[in-house]
């Protein structure tokens, strides 16, 4: 073995502070890289998993304006519409505000039939599991107006732990009750998402319960649908159905904007503030500057080590050995930094998934992503080592020896 590995190690150890800072900088950059890519991939995955036979009809004014419940019957009559359901944001929380999860008020007779490919019902109240569970949940959902279907995350999550049959009090933040109490819902079914875009921490409740509560004065709010989810027939082009729906309400009372579920999902992505672009720009700039600081650090080492190259050549080593030494050192530094960055990304994966639960369903530090990060780290080390070590190849041993260390 002609390569002085020990010399490389000794050089690395001799500059612990400088190399440690470089490792730290690279680990932060690589963590950021993993984070950004996982965020963007998670968002894209959500959009990709949207149904190609589903439309979302919303108010043309704003997503936050409820559509009237009277629209549903009219939409149902349009050619190509298979099933529709109201889909209204309820916005309550469990015990504390930080225990927030999404609740949507839907039409209980239709919702499960519309979501056959989106969620799998894994257990019904009473203990029914397997293929029979869906029908059992449908029955229970219909028989109690306070009934709710929840994702497995709300059953298994430490902060929730909701069990089938539990009565769960939710504190309103949008629709207060007249008596000042919490809303109560009874868990009748548990689902597991089949699509990346659907979190496992959503609760589906009955729209009729909410609307009737508003009508009777039991709660403060006005009857509405939120938006409509529309499943379309395959025989009719989906764009045509969307056009027909919007045409129907072109003259009011509220104009609508009907878009595909994919477009709706990507709207949510852009609604959280063009985050990918913003983070991408900042992250890119950080990566870029860290990249150059690493190259610069290595180049300083390189200049300081021209004399060493001369000494090594006098001892009989080829000039390329000095170049390889710097590449090897660069590689060790960058792989160590990259490794730490990846570990950091893995360690924070769980909590980031929880934090992103409502917005990005598929935040994941996947194996290909880790390999990519490792590859980029390796490339960084090699390029930095090369930039610092190439001059050795051109210098003559006598010139190198004459340089001061």
């Amino acid at each position: 073995m002609q390569f002085p590995f020990r010399l490389a190690m000794r050089h690395l150890m001799a500059r612990k502070a400088r190399n440690g800072l470089t490792v730290l900088a690279i680990s932060i950059a690589v963590f950021l890289l993993c984070f950004l890519i996982a965020v963007v991939q998670g968002m894209e995955e959500g959009i990709r998993s949207a149904s190609s036979h589903r439309l979302v009809t919303q108010s043309a004014v704003s997503l936050f304006v409820d559509l009237p419940t009277s629209y549903q019957q009219k939409i149902d009559t349009i050619d190509g519409v298979h099933l529709t359901t109201k889909f209204r944001w309820f916005g309550a929380y469990y015990q504390e505000r930080k225990n927030f999860f999404a609740q949507f008020a839907v039409d209980h007779p239709r919702f499960l039939d519309m979501y056959t490919k989106d969620i799998e019902i894994i257990e019904a109240v009473g203990g029914t599991t397997g293929p029979a569970a869906r029908a059992a949940v449908q029955k229970a959902f219909s028989s109690d107006r306070r009934a709710a279907i929840i994702g497995v995350g709300l059953r298994d999550g430490e902060r929730f732990g909701f069990q089938l049959g539990d009565t769960v009090p939710l504190i309103p933040s949008i629709y207060p009750r007249a008596d000042g109490n919490a809303w109560e819902f009874v868990i009748v079914g548990i689902y597991r998402p089949l699509k990346a875009r659907i979190p496992d921490t959503t609760m589906y409740i009955r729209a009729d319960y909410i609307n009737e509560a508003f009508d009777s004065g039991e709660a403060l709010g006005s009857r509405g649908a939120g938006v409509y989810y529309v499943n379309t027939e395959e025989s009719v082009p989906i764009d045509q159905v969307a056009k027909d729906i919007d045409a129907l309400f072109a003259n009011g009372p509220q104009r609508t904007q009907t878009i595909t579920e994919a477009a709706f999902a990507s709207f949510f992505v852009s609604a959280i503030g063009n985050l990918p672009l913003f983070l991408g720009t900042i992250g890119g700039a950080v990566l870029f500057s860290i990249f150059f600081s690493v190259v610069n650090t290595m180049m300083i080492s390189g200049r300081q080590r021209l004399q060493e190259s001369g000494i090594l050549q006098a001892l009989g080593f080829r000039p390329i050995v000095s170049t390889m030494l710097l590449i090897w050192e660069g590689l060790l530094i960058s792989l160590l930094g990259g490794g730490i960055g990846i570990l950091l990304a893995l360690a924070t994966e769980g909590s980031l998934i929880r934090i992103f639960a409502q917005n990005i369903q598929n935040y994941q530090i996947s194996v290909p992503l880790m390999l990519l990060a490792l590859g980029i780290s390796a490339l960084l080390g090699i390029v930095a080592g090369l930039a610092a070590g190439i001059p050795f190849l051109r210098s003559s041993p006598t010139d190198a020896l004459r340089s001061s260390g």
């Binding site: 010399l7 000794r10 006098a314 009989g316 080593f317 003559s396 020896l401």
Partner: protein, 231 residues
């Protein structure tokens, strides 16, 4: 000369810097016998280091030839020279040139990396070389923890680690006080007499020059003095 171990035949060397050509060696003729200890003296800029660099294969001449042992060094390509150096010459420099990040023992082991020896054998041989220069007890010291004289002795151990036939020393005592210099010179004499190393040493120090068997004086690239000395 009984046998010609090192030969410079009609060697010319000039440097060009900033458009000006400086002729350092002009048709130099020199041969050195195996096992000789040669001191090379002369004023600054007379071409002493240049001669060492040519003999050690660190630099190439413009014309003429350089032979060391059975090899024509001047005919070797840049890619052949490193391996040849590693087997045939050991260098000792004025400023020691130890690698500061390595211990004394590791510095001495470094050239052995180029040999087929196992790690254990390398360590053993390096320890032996350190023993020859009397520094076994300093094996794990870094150069900064050693005196100048000790550093130079480690450098000598490094130069002989691969057991080369030739030792090239450029002002090895130039940076040392008298007593350290004397120690170093004594080691070089012993390497010459006991281990039969052929030594070519540049020096400005008359005391050092006296230790050699043969004294050469160079002036403006020409040999102006060549005398055998009594031990």
């Amino acid at each position: 000369m009984p046998d010609k171990f090192i030969t410079l035949n009609n060697v010319s060397k000039s440097y060009t810097r900033g458009g000006e050509t400086l002729k350092v060696l002009d048709q130099l003729q020199l041969s050195i016998a195996r096992g000789d200890f040669v001191a090379l003296m002369g004023p600054s800029g007379s071409g002493k280091t240049t001669i060492l660099n040519l003999v050690g294969g660190l630099d190439s001449c413009d014309s003429g030839s350089v032979h060391v042992a059975d090899s024509e060094v001047s005919a070797m390509s840049r890619s052949e020279l490193p391996a040849w150096r590693s087997r045939h010459v050991g260098f000792v420099f004025q400023s020691f040139n130890l690698l500061p990040v390595l211990t004394a023992l590791e510095n001495v082991m470094l050239p052995l990396q180029l040999t087929p020896l196992s790690a254990a054998e390398r360590k053993k041989q390096a320890a032996f070389a350190l023993d020859i220069v009397g520094l076994s007890d300093r094996a794990s010291h870094r150069p900064t923890q050693l005196s100048g004289g000790q550093e130079q002795r480690v450098a000598i151990a490094r130069a002989i680690a691969t057991d080369p036939a030739v030792i090239i020393a450029d002002e090895p005592t130039g940076d040392l006080d008298r007593s350290s210099a004397d120690e170093v010179l004594q080691i070089l004499s012993r390497l010459n007499s006991e281990l039969d190393k052929t030594i070519l040493m540049v020096t400005h120090d008359l005391v050092a020059a006296k230790k050699a068997k043969r004294l050469l004086e160079l002036d403006k690239g020409l040999l102006v003095e060549d005398q055998q000395q009594e031990a």
